[in-house]
């Protein structure tokens, strides 16, 4: 090997030595900084600053060691300086065009010892420094809690000295269906984890770690998070601490039905409905579809058919939309049937029954036959007929039969039979007048009762009608609108308009009765026909039971109790006041925590976590966070007054901060 090649190889070695020295020194500097800052809490900033320091120191060291570079002349000169026996020939020998004789004279030179010494000198001190820094870092990690307490005590006047605590790392392993990575927490006061997650707990610098939930000891390697908030107690030797577990339930998918937008009634069972729904979930949706139920029947007999439309696999997406069409023709619907439609979605949880979300339900109803001819609300059917009252149709039949037989009858017989029919006609007219009286006379049993004091704008309360006034109203109604279809006139209230056919019937009945009383059944028939026609129109307008009344579900309590009669009125119970017993107990526990914090901060933190678990359903997220933060502060010896104040306000029921300015300083 020629001398130039040997010098080049030495140059590469020197470059490697310079690089190694800079790496060692840089790493040592970074480790030293990390060791110093570790007790103050390891954060991303600390790691970043340590890394930057290491890179900076390393780069500065390398630049300094490299000097003007590791070129062949520089290296040859460096060797000549440290090897006087070279006779100062080496620099000349490595130049281009050097004489062969000079090459042979330096061929015997050996500078490996020079290189070895330089290596030892360059790397020994940095290596020692690195070892020292690593030792310092390890010491710092082990004694970080104690150092942290001492620092906090010195730096924060009046801070309480917390007792020794365990240095715990909690690894949260989310369930597989969540499709997310877990996290690792160091010394958490509270661990928030999805229900079904598993926790792996470990501690630094301790041989044994025992974990208990209540009185039950569980494995630290894998503890499942259940639906209830619990406190995990960790023990190692004489030291123990609590960790509160806040389970986060996986919410069911939220489903919003966009189409159809509202309930509807269809006259004909046909057509196609476009269906649309939006779904979203906190973790992911597995499947969404539309469900329908067809209800057929009435009264006590119903049949049901169910089905599903537009099913779609969403593959774990957090949001999605489904669409579909509902063809009513395919459902074989009949008048009076209902179709209930809603959208449903299931999330990724294996327990699909618990993870099912559903939208509001839309109801599509097929109208019953004749439904649109009625403007009345059906009351309950009458219990039994008043058989003493003949119908107008029966009276007409009797009168027609009498008219057919009148030539065979004596005048007196004809008159007697005619008056008999007149009495029945009068009784039926009385039934009609009772109904009209009930409405016009403000009887509380009537449909539109003014007894509660309400009054229509521009309309005074009507006093009860006298029979003469009723007859006058009937005549007016007859002359004004006989035979007209039901319609509201401009100056009429709906009550008057609805009653007009009945007033007509009343008037025609009166007229027919008068003719019958005079023994002229043939003259009574025309008004009887018109009365029947008016009654038919009234019956088509509303549900009337001329021959009996719907039941009144009012119990005469005193009569049942054999104590006489009384018309009672329903009385409502006052709402119950919220119990304050639990709040008092919670406040007392909180007061004990505050007292305990002065003497044993770790115990106070544990008590606070237990109190927080018990109160979790009552606390807002901000208040729960404040309680967790207070426990962390107490355990670290920091000032927890602000967080404790938030919790105290929550326990005392003081108005929360949501309505206050963010500058108020009140949380």
């Amino acid at each position: 090997m020629r001398s130039r090649e040997r010098v080049e190889a030495t140059g590469r070695s020197l470059a490697a030595i310079a690089l190694g020295k800079s790496l060692l020194l840089g790493t040592a500097a970074g480790a030293t900084l990390a060791a110093v800052t570790w007790p103050l809490g390891v954060g991303r900033a600390t790691v970043f600053v340590s890394l930057m320091l290491a890179v900076g120191i390393g780069w500065w060291t390398y630049r300094r060691a490299r000097g003007t570079g590791f070129s062949v002349p520089n290296v040859a000169l460096w060797i000549e300086e440290r090897l006087p026996s070279s006779g100062w020939k080496l620099v000349t020998a490595v130049e281009d065009g050097a004489p062969e004789a000079l090459e042979q004279s330096v061929a015997a030179l050996d500078w490996s010892s020079v290189t070895r010494q330089a290596t030892q000198k360059a790397l020994a001190t940095p290596a020692v420094a690195l070892l020292a820094a690593l030792g310092l870092l390890a010491t710092s990690i082990v004694f970080a809690p104690a150092v942290s307490r001492v620092l906090a005590t010195r730096l924060t006047p009046g801070a309480r000295v917390p007792t020794e605590t365990l240095d715990v790392t909690v690894e949260v392993i989310l369930p597989g269906y969540a499709r997310r990575r877990g996290e690792s927490l160091r010394n958490p006061a509270v661990v928030r984890a999805l229900v079904g997650s598993r926790l792996r707990l470990s501690t630094v610098g301790r041989d044994s770690l025992r974990l208990t939930v209540g009185d039950r000891e569980v494995a630290t390697s894998s503890w499942p998070v259940g639906p209830q908030a619990v406190a995990l107690r960790l023990r190692s030797g004489e030291t123990s601490r609590l960790i509160a577990i806040d389970p986060i339930p996986d919410s069911a998918p939220a489903v919003q039905l966009r189409n159809p937008p509202r309930d509807t009634v269809l006259a004909v069972a046909g057509g196609v409905f476009a269906l649309g729904a939006d779904v979203r979930d906190d973790l992911g949706i597995a499947r969404a579809a539309f469900e329908y139920i067809v209800s057929s029947g009435s009264g006590e007999t119903f049949t049901f058919t169910t089905g599903s439309i537009g099913a779609r696999q969403l593959g774990g997406a957090q949001t999605g939309a489904i669409t579909g069409t509902l063809s009513l023709a395919t459902l074989n619907l009949k008048p009076g049937d209902f179709v209930h439609v809603r959208a449903v979605a299931t999330d990724l949880r294996p327990d699909s029954a618990a993870a099912r979300g559903a939208s509001e339900t839309r109801t599509i109803r097929i109208a019953r036959a004749g439904e649109f001819d009625s403007v009345a609300v059906e009351a309950a059917a009458p219990p039994e007929e008043d058989k003493a009252v003949l119908s107008q149709r029966m009276l007409i039949n009797l009168t027609e039969a009498l008219v057919r037989r009148r030539r065979q009858l004596a005048r007196t017989t004809l008159a007697d039979e005619s008056r008999t029919i007149a009495r029945d006609q009068a009784r039926l007219r009385k039934q009609v007048s009772d109904i009209v009286f009930a409405r016009f006379g403000d009887d509380p049993t009537g449909e539109h009762f003014h007894g509660d004091g309400h009054q229509h704008e521009g309309q005074e309360l009507r006093p009860a009608l006298t029979p003469d006034e009723l007859l006058q109203a009937a005549e007016n109604a007859t002359s004004a609108a006989a035979g007209k279809v039901l319609d509201f006139e401009s100056d009429e209230t709906p009550v008057v308009a609805v009653n007009r056919p009945l007033l007509e019937a009343y008037n025609f009945m009166w007229e027919a009765g008068r003719e019958l009383d005079q023994g002229a059944p043939e003259k009574a028939l025309p008004p009887m026909y018109r009365a029947l026609d008016a009654i038919q129109r009234a019956r088509a307008a509303e549900r009337l039971y001329l021959r009996s009344r719907p039941p009144r579900a009012v119990v005469d309590v005193d009569r049942v109790r054999l104590q006489g009669r009384e018309k009672g009125t329903p009385a409502a119970r006052e709402p119950r006041e919220a119990s304050t017993g639990a709040a008092r107990v919670a406040l007392a526990r909180f007061a004990r925590v505050v007292v305990l914090a002065r003497s044993d901060a770790a115990a106070a933190a544990d008590s606070l976590l237990l109190l927080r678990i018990d109160l979790l359903p009552r606390l807002s997220p901000a208040q729960a966070d404040a309680a967790a933060s207070a426990a962390t502060s107490l355990r670290a010896g920091r000032d927890a007054a602000a967080d404790l104040a938030v919790l105290r306000r929550a326990l005392e029921g003081v108005v929360a901060s949501d309505s206050m300015s963010r500058w108020s300083g009140v949380r």
């Binding site: 339900t361 109801t363 579900a553 119990v555 009385a571 119950r576």
Partner: protein
């Protein structure tokens, strides 16, 4: 002390008013057998309104599928959490019918899981004694429906208190007759209704 008012829950879906004579019949029974001050007429209260909190006992029935609105769900939850007693009866005579399926699903969502009520529960001895548990209805026995007896009642508990009682024994049909006709029965079949009300008022 204010008097007891029998309240019927009116909900948006289905036919909430399918048993109109049950309130009067149970009011009659309460007046007949107990000394509880009772209002002579029941009231109808919208399930979604805060007015439900004014009544300790709420009766709900129907034949058709039940889908609560969000307001109704919240109201049911609030009602039973604050000490109310909600009695839901399936007015159908079948098993696993639409009302049963839908209302149990809504109960699950609104109140929590339904559990079987023990035949020795104090509900069956709070006034009258029913040693065999919930009394059977004629509709279960006469072949109207599925020809099956539903031997147990289901309930949602709040602590050790029944907050929501669910029956698919069709007490709505059994009790929906005019109280005057009670005299034709050798044994009044509404006595269990008295137990329900007494339990609701004393727990």
């Amino acid at each position: 002390m204010s008097e007891f008012v029998f309240a019927t829950a009116q909900y948006e879906s289905g036919d909430w008013d399918s048993a109109p004579l049950v309130p009067a019949n149970l009011i009659d029974s309460i007046a007949r057998y107990t000394s509880i001050p009772v209002a002579p007429a029941g009231v109808v209260v919208a399930l979604s309104s805060n007015d439900v909190l004014r009544f300790p006992f709420l009766f709900m029935t129907g034949h058709l599928p039940v889908r609560f609105t969000e307001a109704e769900r919240a109201s049911v939850r609030r009602f039973i959490d604050r000490g109310g007693f909600l009695f839901i009866d399936d007015h159908n005579h079948d098993i696993d019918g639409a009302f049963h399926k839908t209302v149990t699903e809504e109960i699950q969502r609104s109140a929590g899981p339904l559990v079987t009520v023990s035949k020795r529960h104090e509900l069956f001895s709070s006034f009258f004694t029913f040693p065999d548990g919930p009394p059977n209805t004629s509709h279960e026995l006469n072949g109207w429906g599925d020809n099956l007896l539903h031997p147990d009642l289901k309930a949602v508990f709040r602590g050790d208190r029944i907050a929501l009682l669910y029956s698919n024994k069709d007490y709505s049909s059994e009790w929906s007759y005019h109280p005057e006709n009670k005299r034709f029965y050798s044994v009044d079949n509404t006595r269990f209704g008295v137990n329900l009300v007494v339990y609701a008022l004393t727990r």
